[in-house]
Symmetry: C2
């Protein structure tokens, strides 16, 4: 049985922000948060919306992805210098990234331990540590 809770949570958070629960946002939230955690690009989500007869412009897809990210419902993952990926799993974790399939796979935070860190550059503090393990078909 697939989690339906995350979607309810997402709706609650939608309400908690100043974002109006519009037809488009609700439909996209449903697609994004009704099942297991996932990684999407603007284009992949747009395709999926169309496949589910949800009519949304690409501009709205971008707007929504950024708004959900600001609201803490999504997190951006940087693994490709030409495309942005968004992750429904906002907890601290890392990724496998297959350069060939362009697919991301989660690595639970506990499965990677980053040891002794050098101090960050003068005047800065750490906002986040990303570990990306690039893989290729054997």
């Amino acid at each position: 049985m697939v989690a339906t809770r995350p979607y309810a949570d997402a709706l609650a958070r939608l309400r908690a922000t100043k974002l109006r629960p519009t037809r488009q946002r609700l439909a996209l939230a449903k697609l994004l948060f009704s099942g297991a955690d996932r990684h999407v690009t603007a284009e992949s989500l747009h395709k999926e919306a169309r496949a589910n007869r949800v009519r949304v412009s690409l501009a709205t897809i971008y707007n929504t992805l950024h708004q959900f990210t600001r609201a803490g419902m999504l997190r951006e993952v940087i693994v490709d210098s030409t495309r942005s990926y968004f992750d429904t799993n906002t907890s601290h974790h890392h990724h496998f990234f297959c350069e060939q399939s362009q697919l991301l796979e989660d690595i639970p935070s506990g499965a990677v331990s980053v040891g002794t860190l050098p101090p960050p550059p003068r005047g800065t503090s750490i906002s986040r540590i990303d570990v990306v393990i690039r893989v290729h078909p054997r």
Copy 2:
């Protein structure tokens, strides 16, 4: 005293590849490898070339960065989903990346230890592990 060896090494490697030592490639190699290790973007290198009265088209900058990368003289660093960075330090190491200044800073490989790794996705093997520590001005 700034290292002049890396430049000589780069020239040697240029020769070792099938890349002809053209005026443009020599000039760019000199800019890239005459001093300490550094991180450049196509645009930043283009600006630097112009500032040094090296006339090179942007297309050649891109071609050269990719050719040097294929030749193992540079390595691409992925920290930004809109721009490509190239690193003259091709040894295994990690990075601090300041989202504000868009500047990279090296972290010696030894300064970070990545612990227990989960097995890569079925049918794939690890090609590289990247640790990016994002920082922001305090």
